[in-house]
Subunit: 417 residues, 2 copies
Amino acid sequence: MNHGFFTIISREEFVRKLKGFVPLDAETADLSLALNRVLADDLIAPHDWPLLDRSCMDGYAVNARDVFGAGESNPGYLECVAALPIDRLPDISLKPGECARIATGGILPDGADGVVMVEHTHAMEDDDTGGTIEIRRSAAPGENVMQRGEDAREGKVALAKGTVMRPQEIGLAAALGFETMKLARRPRVGILSTGDELIPTHQTPVPGQVRDVNTHSLAALVEQAGGVPVPYGIVKDDLEHLSDALGTAIRDNDLVLLSGGSSIGVRDLTVQTIEAMNGAEILAHGVAISPGKPTILGRVGTKPVLGLPGQVTSALVVMHVLILPLIRHLQGDGLAFDRTVRTLRKAELARNLPSKPGREDYVRIRLEEREGQPPLAHPVLGKSGLLRTIVQAHGLACIPAESEGFYGNDLIDVWII
Amino acid sequence: MNHGFFTIISREEFVRKLKGFVPLDAETADLSLALNRVLADDLIAPHDWPLLDRSCMDGYAVNARDVFGAGESNPGYLECVAALPIDRLPDISLKPGECARIATGGILPDGADGVVMVEHTHAMEDDDTGGTIEIRRSAAPGENVMQRGEDAREGKVALAKGTVMRPQEIGLAAALGFETMKLARRPRVGILSTGDELIPTHQTPVPGQVRDVNTHSLAALVEQAGGVPVPYGIVKDDLEHLSDALGTAIRDNDLVLLSGGSSIGVRDLTVQTIEAMNGAEILAHGVAISPGKPTILGRVGTKPVLGLPGQVTSALVVMHVLILPLIRHLQGDGLAFDRTVRTLRKAELARNLPSKPGREDYVRIRLEEREGQPPLAHPVLGKSGLLRTIVQAHGLACIPAESEGFYGNDLIDVWII
């Protein structure tokens, strides 16, 4: 497709090119730093977990045969021979007609194969460790018991390479004794802002000047995706300064974002600067999404370099649609580009939302909550150079490239950002 | 409701008690640390933003009157009198019949009130800064122009107290020159594990011993909600040791989590320990959710203390349902307890899912993706002391307290965790 200025490719094609970049190498990282990161090696269980059969409940360890048919109206009676310690192997063995007091987590003694919850029992004597226990419910073999090896088996993969470490995976790693593990490195993401009109946040703009917004928004987004933002500040928009800064950024980072180049001159300069690097190639001059069309994808050596649209809203949309998934992909996250990982809410469109076929449209949406119904989705229209529209928005509606838009009252997915 | 062991309250009532805790005080924090945190004061715009009318496009600044009715078949012709600098106030004034080359972000000169995109123009002469320009489209006044003050007006609230700082709000704050701002403090969350059977992760368990899983999983969850986890490690489960450790944790933190106390003895000890603190009160002995029933809520002075179920899955569910919202609430997030902030996915239940009315059930769900249809939701049943079930699960299905469950093929919401 030629739009007069540059050749643009579809989002699918752009994503294919992004997927061509190889995930980063691994590093050994502490368990406390693993949240949301990706395992770079299988975690092999060093032992069964649980080590032995354990009780899931407070109650009495029994042999299922001894309580067969027990119920409220026909309780069984067992002799309690011990209160089992929670932290040691029981040193007793249950004989027929016997039971033992057991706490949640306690190991079943020999001769026991099930647990009756304390709620379904009654101690006939006022004696903690002994006496006759009325059993008001039966227990099948294995009932209320965590079996040896149910969580992990010695020598087997407990968590596979590529697993994203959620709090529960962190728990399993801790249970198996992994204080450190191999994780894909967090990509270092160099952020360069270009534009002679830009000034740092602490300066006061005179007419014509604009504070550097993108560095801050992009850094926050990079962080959100698990990358390490490395801001380089504002770079003068001439070939020499930009080449120097880009060279440094590429050397010291895994991915470089250039922002500020939305006007044609700066776009051209961005392309020129990337092309001038050693081993560089421009992979895309644009992508068929709106906003976000003038996005440049380059490769310098093995590293991706992206020229983002200068308009802040466009840059944010491109970050969400393309770059945050790339940052996850570089960490080895197999679902990085999978849209099922987006946070979506169903909402009823408040009015017609037409769209030009041939490009994917991302329309900012403000949600109006309603009692007992899906929220109402109000498109927030406005210029993409303004922040107000995206600040007012709760999310984005994505209109597929082949669609001419949605109708008012359509139930649509709003991607919460 | 009395369940034989302790009085439990509904989730709604439990949440009401959590909401009674007062959000934390504010601190001055750097913009780079603001992501997902909550503004503790209004941000008042120190100046209009944009400072003046700016172009949204590359093109020609025009007076709308001069291009009225222009189109592909009847273009207008204007004399380009300047290429405007992007970083300074233009020093020209357009006369009738004149236009000026303008870049995205450039300030409109006097006499101009609209911009025609460069795509809709043609320079008749090979001259960057002058010559006759063919104008092939009209421009309404204000077209392709960001108006002065559209993003923020001097002296007015640009971002209100209580706003959660997303990347776009961070951008707006940067645009207005805020390098620091007042944010609610991140709650320090003390994490204590009790249980004589617990050992630290680096030790190898002998039968009866269990590595301390909860400290690691809870710390990750606290981090996820924006809190600062402060793990105290394993505390011996007697009144003296636990009281000492709890006293220190309460002194140095904003919220304390006690975990490990799922067996009756440890539960009783937890209640006893909290009650023994100066100015303490037990607000709830349990909550009508499953898993998670044996959750204790106490107050020591103004600070919440929670006794979590010892079973790791139960503790994780309680964290998601009650404690992560509390951590957000303590930061002043008005939507903290609002279920609309959950990440939900529609899925088709693979089989019947019965539930006991009177309590809210949170059933672990594994999703099976399908092409072109909502994913299939498989309940993952299993003992809540095991990690496997929650590691296999993508999320939770919440069955309301008044419901007797769902049917197979029902379309349900799966809360992704």
